[in-house]
Symmetry: C2
Subunit: 370 residues, 2 copies
């Protein structure tokens, strides 16, 4: 029996509910992966993630390569052991961070030379190096090294698609089997349907156990993102998981699921939690707002998450205003519970053949507010 | 049956093991109370405190009076409800913070006028006002309003003792019964045994369900502190709990228990946790130290606390160096587990009549190190 297997259990229109089996357990899809950049989902220990049924987390290759180093993590037993997280992990390729965080010194067909955002030290990433680092880290799902261009400049995107395709071949060669770690290819192509199709078809010939859509949600309007997803979806294998990288808002996710996407990751719920914002079925709440200072209701009394259920909005307001870490922690926990719960709701609705109704009801809740 | 009752179950020399019954449960003594200044033990949610058997926490009257205000906390159902903490709580009187944090505008026999350290706003605290605020907060144990002078200037200490005595009378009058909240008197007197005796005897005539030693651990050498405790102890009622405020290091606590103290609070374990320091049975460890960067052992594999047991020192080092909040959280949790476990160990040793051996063994562990 293969270590990885993806089974679609239900479809409702283009929306899919599935089960993705990995060496560290089965991931029900659609799934949202909380982001644990530096080998920790900021402010949230593993137990609290188990409690809200987070099936998968993401860690960043770029950050962990720079600090503490992937060899050390390998020597300590790998990411699962180091983080004391027993469920599946996904690592990105480092590509996105190299292009967005680091100082680029040189980019050529072989790879990228860049300067660390921490101490300016010089490093080089290539497809082979990204594979080696991700093998050291030991995540269940690893990503091909890609170039992430500005998505609207066709000439730049064309070159990035070609480069990403060649890099994907080299990743596939460097990591030829998916026994222990499943290597996902990343479709690039900006907002250009023909380039997306070209990228997806090339990747499909290489054969990956999963496919990602990269280079979206980098500032373009939501409509453009959704149009691109819809145009790309027909060229992605129907029997493999589809991962939309770095997305997004709850609305982005619901609309992307409707267009056939299975997996997401985003810093939004964790980052927002550290800035006083709660995601709820009543929409986004800014807990810094004075109107919450005397509000004795919890964020959501119907939630199973202790952070959402056991503390008044007045107390959360106090914690945020007083700069208490517990405020960051509780809001982050609430937000991840909301995101993971939203995915569970989407999954159940797809299984029941009522996904459109679920989306409409959910959006009504946001619009109605408190 | 009275809401509060203190029973000494064992003595070993002057060291006492007891049970202090309160409306929110029984506190086994000796006990260490984690400090939750702004209605949160920094970085630690209630569940994690239950897990390490913290029987009692402290919250600060001064801070909560300024923000969010005690009337609001009363209207939200009191501190236990607001914090979602179901075990006993102790609030201090605000005196210590007024004298150490705020800008003092005027101090007279009636009370203190001071400026908020948050926004400079002007406030006045009197014994009656401190009682009213603490009644609003709703802790199980509340403290008399006292003046905390520099402990080594005899003239200043003499005046502070007289003032503290009169203020204690007014607190006792303002809070005449201990049905719902037990009011503790605070013995002042600096490092002067005769003033300590005078203060303690006066308080005893007023009749309190517990007595604190205030004004120590403010910079004097440990030997002077211990000498003062030993000189004060004979003047404190044997059948009431004795609370040494703001103390201290693990060593301070063990030596104070030996001299008849039952209760402690201190920011040390929480503050140290946010600065990369772990308290363990091997002594204090600075997790920023590079020697931990490859250390795969947990802080203490024999601990029941997940923070002490489930993560390598190398991972904690990484979290601290990467400024990840999880580092603060795990070290704080470990430190509180160590403090609470030390008290449980002391209690068991007193019950077994081997307290001196316990102290010697514990200190040997610290001295031996890793």
């Amino acid at each position: 029996m293969a270590s990885f297997a993806f089974e679609i259990t239900h479809m409702d229109g283009s929306a899919r509910a599935g089960l993705f089996r990995t060496p560290h357990g089965v991931i029900p899809t659609p799934v949202f992966a909380p982001v644990g950049t530096q080998a920790t989902v900021k402010t949230i220990p593993p137990r609290d993630l188990y409690e809200i049924n987070a099936p998968l987390i993401l860690a960043n290759t770029y950050h962990l390569h720079l600090r503490p180093g992937s060899e050390l993590i390998r020597d300590l037993g790998g990411l699962h052991r180091v983080m004391a997280w027993q469920r599946p992990i996904l690592t990105d390729s480092g590509g996105f961070q190299v292009f967005s965080l680091a100082g680029i010194n040189k980019i050529d067909d072989d790879g990228v030379t860049f300067s660390s955002h921490i101490d300016g030290s010089r490093h080089r990433l290539t497809p082979e190096r990204s594979m080696a680092i991700q093998e050291n880290l030991g995540a269940d799902i690893i990503m091909a090294f890609d170039e992430c261009p500005i998505p609207t400049d066709r000439a730049i995107v064309e070159r990035a698609v070609m480069r990403t395709s060649r890099w994907a071949e080299r990743c596939r060669e460097a990591h030829p089997d998916d026994d222990r770690q499943a290597l996902f290819g990343i479709v690039q192509g900006g907002i250009f349907p023909d380039l997306r199709a070209q990228s997806a078809e090339h990747l499909q010939r290489l054969g990956f156990p999963g496919y990602a859509i990269g280079g979206l949600a980098v500032g373009e309007p939501q409509a453009e993102m959704l149009r691109t997803i819809a145009a790309t979806e027909p060229f992605m294998p129907a029997d493999k998981p589809r991962y939309l990288m770095g997305v997004g808002t709850p609305d982005d996710m619901l609309e992307s699921i409707r267009r056939g996407v299975d997996m997401f990751d985003c810093v939004m719920p964790t980052r927002a939690g550290r800035h006083g914002t709660a995601y709820t079925r009543f929409g986004r709440l800014n807990l810094r707002n004075a109107k919450f200072s005397t509000d004795r209701r919890p964020l959501d009394e119907a939630s199973d998450c202790p952070a959402s259920r056991d503390y008044s909005r007045a107390y959360l307001h106090h914690l945020v205003r007083a700069d208490e870490m517990l405020g960051d922690m509780l809001l982050t926990w609430n937000n991840l519970a909301y995101y993971c719960g939203l995915m569970a709701g989407a999954r159940a609705a797809i299984a029941a053949g009522r996904y459109d109704d679920f989306v409409a009801e959910t959006k009504e809740g946001w619009a109605r507010g408190l």
